[in-house]
Symmetry: C2
Subunit: 171 residues, 2 copies
């Protein structure tokens, strides 16, 4: 049973300020924290430990192919944002850039980590966020249907689903 | 920005064996663990601490209304499974029952907890699981479209989304 969160791309910089991006699917939010499961050998893990900062970026289905790039392994120092044909967007509170073409960005400061077996659970405090103004509805909610957020439901041959309409529930 | 995991209903029993069920939306999987954010005053939290066991149940959109029942507060000892008009299904490895009408069930044994601020992160090891045989595709994948799993994207006036078709990605 593989039922996943929306795919996120985590952007970081290394100790020399060089940007890195990688796709993740296993994370959770308990405000003000976001916790991401990251393998301890991963560049993203090392960069977060070295700099204390990361940005969570939410791709839309219009940039589905770029997720493939962020899922691959590149040598240290390769800028996956450029490899994916995307644009670095200056963050407001942290050094790592966000991804301009993606739908929403959450800037985070490292708080703690916990060993959960195969991965480290890396917790960051969400300190700033941005999204396209056109993706907020009249009540200030982020419109997941218009944004076309993507959930990866098969891996490594990727298959995605995306929300296509809202269903009203009862309170 | 509220972009959630599929809704789950966690079933537990209290120290006297009385079943309880409640809906949660903040959790993650890092095999073999599942970690659920639970408020420490919640019956589900007390039951897991008392008995060391819980079951994660995945509702489909055909039982959307039942999620509302599992989101409400009831006095201790009320059986929310009965309140929701659903059927308790005997689990194979743990005492808490699963929910027969729901699409998939994962039996868990408590491993550890971590205070993450407003909630406790409660980690259980997934020890057994079941789903409708008709929901497995030829490769043994759980079919989230056929199951009609539901993501809650607005709260407390609930609005849901459900996957409606698959989108092939590139490796």
């Amino acid at each position: 049973m593989l039922v996943s969160d929306p795919v996120i791309v985590v952007t970081t910089v290394d100790s020399q300020g060089r940007p890195n991006g990688a796709a993740f699917g296993s994370y959770m939010r308990v405000a003000p924290l976001i916790m991401v499961a990251i393998a301890p050998g991963h560049d993203t893990y090392r960069n977060i430990k070295d700099t204390g900062e990361f940005v969570v970026n939410l791709p839309g289905k219009d940039r589905l192919d770029s997720i493939t790039v962020f899922g691959k392994s590149y040598p240290e120092g390769v800028n996956e944002i450029e490899e994916a044909g995307l644009t670095a967007l200056k963050s407001s509170m942290v050094k790592p850039p966000a991804i301009e073409e993606y739908k929403a960005h959450v800037e985070c400061k490292f708080k703690w980590e916990k060993d959960v077996g195969s991965h480290m659970l890396v917790a960051g405090e969400m300190v700033a966020g941005s999204c396209d103004a056109g993706l907020m509805d009249e009540n200030g909610h982020f419109d997941v249907v218009k944004a076309g957020i993507v959930h990866c439901v098969r891996y490594p041959e990727p298959v995605y689903v995306t929300p296509e309409r809202y269903i009203e529930g009862k309170r």
